[in-house]
């Protein structure tokens, strides 16, 4: 960068290196672009953003539920309403995450250096399944009892049951309200950053007039 060559003494060091790396890899106009390649024009592109919107409301309703404690939603109509927002938010979240996955599959969007984006997305899906599972175990109702009793056998068979005890409400609840949402949020942030760093993938069999690997 022009500015860094003018101030060599100031712009050395790890901090400057990190800043320059970010500026090169993901300038703000790439993070929040106001333009997209002209072929980005299908509702299939909207599935991802709907998934994120659902995640926002799942986390928001979950914060309210966590703030009032695990019993609250069984006892209060307001609590039941927030639990319902949480429940349907999760259904929408998974519905559109799966639609997003199908859409990205048919676009083969892992091409041209985007495999890490796909892989982080896949991990996000797996972690989301565990998050939902711990959520079902945290409901303190018949579902929780029954799911815990049945799920223990598979977890025990895999060895995970030795340290991941689905019959321990406290352990499942802690995982559900802290570790799982933190992991999903972190993964989604990485996923979005990867998408913005690489840009949207070009159409399959795009003519070579479009320069290879340059679509940002």
């Amino acid at each position: 960068m022009a500015s860094s060559s003018n101030k060599p003494d100031v712009d050395r060091g790890w901090t400057a290196a990190v800043r320059h790396g970010i500026e090169r890899g993901l300038p703000l106009e790439n993070l929040l672009p106001s333009r997209q390649p002209f072929f980005v024009g299908s509702w299939v592109y909207v599935f991802g953003v709907v998934t994120i919107a659902a995640l926002v409301w799942v986390v928001a309703s979950g914060v309210v539920l966590a703030a009032f404690g695990p019993q609250w939603w069984h006892l209060s109509a307001t609590g039941q309403f927030f639990n319902s927002l949480h429940f349907w938010g999760v259904q929408i979240f998974f519905l559109f995450m799966i639609l997003h996955l199908i859409g990205q599959f048919f676009m083969a969007s892992w091409r041209e250096g985007r495999a890490p984006t796909w892989m982080v997305g896949a991990v996000t899906f797996f972690v989301s399944v565990v998050a939902a599972f711990t959520g079902y175990l945290s409901q303190q109702n018949f579902d929780s009892q029954w799911i815990a009793i049945n799920a223990k056998d598979a977890l025990n068979a895999s060895g995970a049951g030795a340290f991941f005890n689905v019959l321990n409400f406290g352990q499942m609840y802690g995982l559900h309200i802290l570790l799982m949402p933190a992991a999903i949020t972190g993964l989604v942030v990485i996923h979005i950053l990867l998408v913005r760093i690489r840009g949207v993938v070009r159409p399959i069999e795009a003519p070579a007039t479009a320069r290879r690997g340059a679509a940002r």
């Binding site: 024009g41 592109y45 799966i98």
Partner: protein, 54 residues
């Protein structure tokens, strides 16, 4: 609708699925098909405008 009554079941051979789950799977197919079929609203300055502007 009594939401806490057990859901109806579709049972065909090995397939054993509740109607609410069937609706979810149906929604995946319907929404994906609709997303393919429906035209995406072009934003200002997109294709048509480009052609107009040359």
């Amino acid at each position: 609708m009594e939401m806490n009554a057990p859901a109806a079941i579709v049972h065909v051979g090995l397939l054993f699925i509740t109607v609410p789950n069937l609706i979810v799977f149906g929604l995946i197919v319907v929404i994906f098909t609709a997303a393919l079929a429906l035209p995406f609203p072009h934003q200002a300055g997109s294709l048509e405008e480009e052609h107009r502007n040359g």
